[in-house]
């Protein structure tokens, strides 16, 4: 039987030591790598293609959930955390198995058993998407967005976002760091960005008011916003009403 190719992602070396020890006792597992943060994690998943990943939620730079947003076809994940109320709620809501530090070896064995089942089923991707969605709902207002461009991962503070353009299932984020695609809907950003600062001016555009240069009317019911960077964005009738309300004109 093929061994399960496993990756550990945890920023604390003592925590990795302990998990490595537990996994060395399980003959089904072949440990193929260890990562100390989410940046390394994304690249390792892409390159090493593990079947199973032990992922700690609380990490520096980007969290476990933010890392997963950047992985299109995630492997089976076993989550762990020392303490995270929001994550716990999301896990419970989705009946996701998770490990609470410190955990004994029996818990790891049980989690691997469940993972083996998941490896056989095809619903892993959907389950992870649903989990991330539930966690998003708990999270409240965003102050940063994590994006990937090729091999480069960037953390974008929301203040530097000029505007977001929607493209069906995903969006294009235009910001001072460049422009990046993200696999989230426009609705997600509308709900999680400060609605006094970010306005839906059109079905396709969510605009950061800090970057408006001018508003021009060009037809009876349509306008154009000119951004400070020189972009021209269409404004719908409804969008114009939103703008007026937020700018108080």
């Amino acid at each position: 039987m093929n061994k399960i190719k496993t990756l550990i992602i945890d920023d604390e070396s003592l925590a990795r030591d302990l998990l490595r020890h537990y996994l060395s006792l399980d003959e089904r597992i072949e440990l193929i790598g260890e990562c100390t943060n989410g940046f390394e994690g994304v690249l390792a998943i892409q390159e090493l293609k593990p079947d199973l990943v032990f992922l700690d939620i609380q990490m520096p730079k980007i969290t476990g959930f933010e890392m997963l947003e950047l992985v299109p076809n995630p492997p089976v994940i076993i989550f762990s955390t020392a303490f995270d109320q929001y994550a716990l709620r999301a896990f419970e809501a989705n009946a996701t198995d998770y490990l609470l530090k410190p955990y004994p070896s029996e818990r790891v064995a049980a989690a691997v058993n469940k993972a083996v089942e998941k490896l056989k089923s095809k619903t892993n991707s959907q389950e992870i998407s649903r989990l991330i969605e539930t966690h998003d709902e708990e999270s409240g207002v965003l102050n940063r967005v994590v994006v990937k461009s090729g091999r480069k991962i960037q953390v974008i503070p929301v203040e530097s976002i000029y505007y977001i353009e929607s493209q069906d299932d995903f969006v294009m984020i235009y910001c001072s760091e460049g422009h990046f695609m993200k696999q989230k809907t426009m609705k997600y950003f509308e709900q999680h960005l400060d609605d006094q600062q970010y306005v839906r001016i059109h079905r396709s555009y969510l605009l950061n008011l800090a970057y408006i240069s001018e508003i021009q009317q060009y037809e009876k019911d349509s306008w154009l916003v000119l951004t400070k960077q020189g972009a021209k964005l269409k404004v719908s009738k409804g969008g114009y009403a939103n703008l007026k309300e937020k700018l108080k004109i």
Binding site: L14, D17, H21, P102, G140, N143, R144, V155, I156
Partner: protein, 363 residues
């Protein structure tokens, strides 16, 4: 009669009234005037003072009107709340009201019986009963008012008890919150996990860490927010905390205490420095890929002690939105203890974050 009664009950229910509170209270209340009316009717019939039908009409009308007016008496009582009105005013109101009550009772009932009863001897009977009934009316008023006041007192008591229970609950909740805020769960469980790991690879270090963690938790659980300790004692605890975190972070964390003369014995509120160091670790050490140094400087001034905590941080990091209440809570505590909200300042430099705290002399 019945529709008028139910209609008035409906109107009264709109304003809070003890009688119309529920069906049982209405029933119990009406037992009183009905009993009075009926017993009078039965008495008159039995002793052949009046014919049966006349007795009953007389009894029921006088009883009924008494009952209706009795409901209205509640508003006199409400207007004279014993907790808000002076006794003299209350007495005067009730004397006046009792007279009005009795007068209205006699007049209204009198009008009604005259239309309903055509018995020759009845008029005479009524006149003979005048004094008796007036006295009876005043007594009924006194009785109704007494019962209403008993109700008012029991209401006040219940409210007081509820408020008392609510206060107790809030106090307990606040104590619990204060306790919870002093225990950082991330720190606790991550440390325990580190210990679990060390038992396999370095049992000596594990042993040391268990003791350090236990000492630290014990100090943290002192829940008297206005306790003052010397800087030396406080720094011993901060030292424990940093030792434990150093096991986690290794060389990524470095720290140094620079204590000026006379500072070690200066008094400061206990645990006041804890959140500052937690922040330094959370936003400085944790988010940085290079080693971070935390420096604490204490200097004795003329009438106070100045403490600075400076830590490196990675200017490119965009930390996750934290709860951020640490510094706000410190400021609030300092305000409560020393009466000034300008004792704490924080400054973000190029790659250094500085928190400055001024602790007045304890006089």
């Amino acid at each position: 009669m019945a529709p008028i009664l139910t209609f008035s009950c409906f109107i009264i229910k709109l304003v809070e009234h003890p009688v119309t509170k529920n069906k049982i209270s209405i029933l119990i209340y009406w037992l009183f005037p009905v009993t009075i009316g009926l017993s009078q009717a039965i008495y008159n019939s039995y002793y052949h003072i009046l014919p049966v039908s006349v007795s009953f009409v007389d009894g029921l009308i006088f009883g009924g009107v008494l009952g209706i007016l009795g409901i209205a008496v509640w508003y006199v009582v409400r207007y004279n709340d014993p907790e808000k009105s002076a006794p003299v005013q209350m007495l005067a109101s009730h004397v006046a009201a009792s007279l009005v009550f009795t007068a209205m009772w006699m007049i209204a009932s009198g009008i009604l019986v005259k239309t309903m009863i055509n018995h020759l001897a009845y008029g005479e009977y009524l006149n003979s009963q005048l004094t008796v009934r007036i006295i009876g009316g005043l007594l009924c008023y006194a009785l109704i008012v007494s019962i209403y006041y008993i109700y008012v007192y029991s209401q006040h008591n219940r409210e007081k008890q509820l408020k008392e229970a609510e206060w107790q609950h809030q106090i307990r909740q606040a104590q619990l919150d204060a306790l919870k805020s002093q225990i950082n769960p991330h720190f606790l469980f991550n440390s325990l996990n580190s210990i679990a790991s060390l038992t396999l690879t370095d049992s000596g270090k594990a042993h040391h860490m268990v003791i350090a963690l236990s000492d630290f938790m014990r100090y943290s659980l002192r829940n008297h927010q206005d306790d003052l300790v010397t800087l030396e004692v406080e720094l011993r605890n901060i030292g424990l905390y940093l030792q434990i975190e150093k096991i986690r972070f290794g060389d990524r964390l470095g720290y140094h205490f620079d204590i000026g003369d006379g500072c070690n014995t200066h008094l400061i509120p206990n645990l006041i420095l804890q959140p500052i160091f937690e922040n330094a670790i959370k936003y400085g050490v944790y988010e940085s890929s290079t080693p971070v140094e935390i420096l604490l400087k204490a200097r004795k001034m003329e009438d106070c002690m100045e403490i600075e905590v400076i830590n490196d941080f990675d200017p490119e990091s965009v930390p996750r939105k934290g709860e951020g209440v640490g510094l706000t809570n410190i400021n609030e505590r300092l305000r409560i203890i020393y009466g000034s909200s300008r004792l704490l300042t924080a400054e973000l430099g190029d790659n250094k974050f500085t928190v400055k705290m001024v602790i007045p002399d304890n006089n």
